[in-house]
């Protein structure tokens, strides 16, 4: 039986080019990363909570049966508990850099860090 080789030369070109693209994207994100000041929480596309990242506190976001407990501690925000099924949001750890997010897809909830000061509404649209 003749040996079948399913690997083509263009596979390696593909591998290298995608690896290269990943490298560029990572460099870009590292370059633009900076500490944020505000935590915004959006549910169903609406902002439901906006707090400063510099004040410690515990916030409970409730809508219908959805419940998420967000904790801000020492300039970092993390999801302490939630009653969703997969708990992906709780496992995502803490965030503090601009544009980093915690998402809870079953609850259509997204927590993200933004720059600027609290109630600086214009900075939301960037």
């Amino acid at each position: 039986m003749k040996k079948i080789n399913f690997i083509q030369k263009r596979d390696w070109i593909l591998f290298c080019s995608i690896f290269f693209i990943c490298g560029i994207l990572f460099c870009m994100t590292l370059f633009f990363k900076k500490e944020g000041n505000r935590i915004l929480v959006e549910q169903n596309g609406h902002i439901v909570l906006e707090v400063s990242l510099n004040e410690n506190g515990t916030y409970v976001i409730e809508e219908n049966d959805y419940r998420n407990e967000l904790v801000i501690e020492n300039g970092k925000a993390f999801m302490k508990s939630a009653n969703c099924k997969d708990l992906v949001c709780v496992h995502q750890g803490s965030i503090s850099k601009v544009n980093e997010t915690i998402t809870c897809l079953p609850h259509k909830l997204i927590v993200y860090v933004a720059g600027g000061d609290v109630s600086d509404v214009d900075a939301v649209v960037n």
Partner: protein
């Protein structure tokens, strides 16, 4: 087709077992949506052995049954969009004469991209798009791994499936 059904059933079972094995492996990365995609191995092998239609059926059934068994109704939605998206891309890649590794890399990447697009739609916030480089890299690595595995497996399975055509 009649004779294929037994083999398709066998492949579907294999895919479900691999999904189960995968659910046992803990993931140490905190990025949501990253997984090994072992079941993709079956889809890749199926794509090279059977027709596109049969692969499509296997892929859809695998996602639905695995979702009911090990996931939630919600995870089915994401996996389904990712699976269909990646399958179409894989078929095109195969037509374009990419090898197994190329096909499975593209499959892995576009599975992640499909899921990300649905996620962006659900939370209606483009910000989770910042996960894209992580998802691309994970799709690349797992896709390569699956491709190498499929490349090693297929010459042996060819013997098994030879008389089906």
């Amino acid at each position: 087709m009649k004779r294929h059904i037994a083999y398709l059933g066998f492949l579907l079972t294999l895919a479900l077992v691999l999904s189960y094995v995968e659910s046992l492996i803990p993931i140490f990365v905190r990025i949501p949506g990253i997984k090994l995609g072992l079941a993709n191995l079956v889809v890749v092998i199926c794509l090279y052995t059977f027709s596109f239609k049969e692969t499509f059926i296997i892929s859809i059934l695998r996602v639905i049954v695995a979702g009911i068994l090990f996931g939630s109704l919600f995870s089915i939605l994401y996996s389904l969009s990712g699976a269909i998206f990646s399958l179409i891309i894989m078929m095109l890649a195969k037509r374009l004469r990419f090898g197994v590794i190329g096909v499975s890399i593209l499959g892995g990447i576009f599975h992640n991209i499909g899921q990300l697009l649905v996620a962006i739609n659900v939370v209606s916030n483009y910000r989770i798009g910042y996960l894209l480089p992580y998802l691309l890299l994970s799709g690349l690595l797992t896709g390569t791994f699956i491709g190498i595995a499929a490349n090693t497996l297929m010459p042996h399975l060819k013997k098994l499936f030879e008389f089906t055509r």
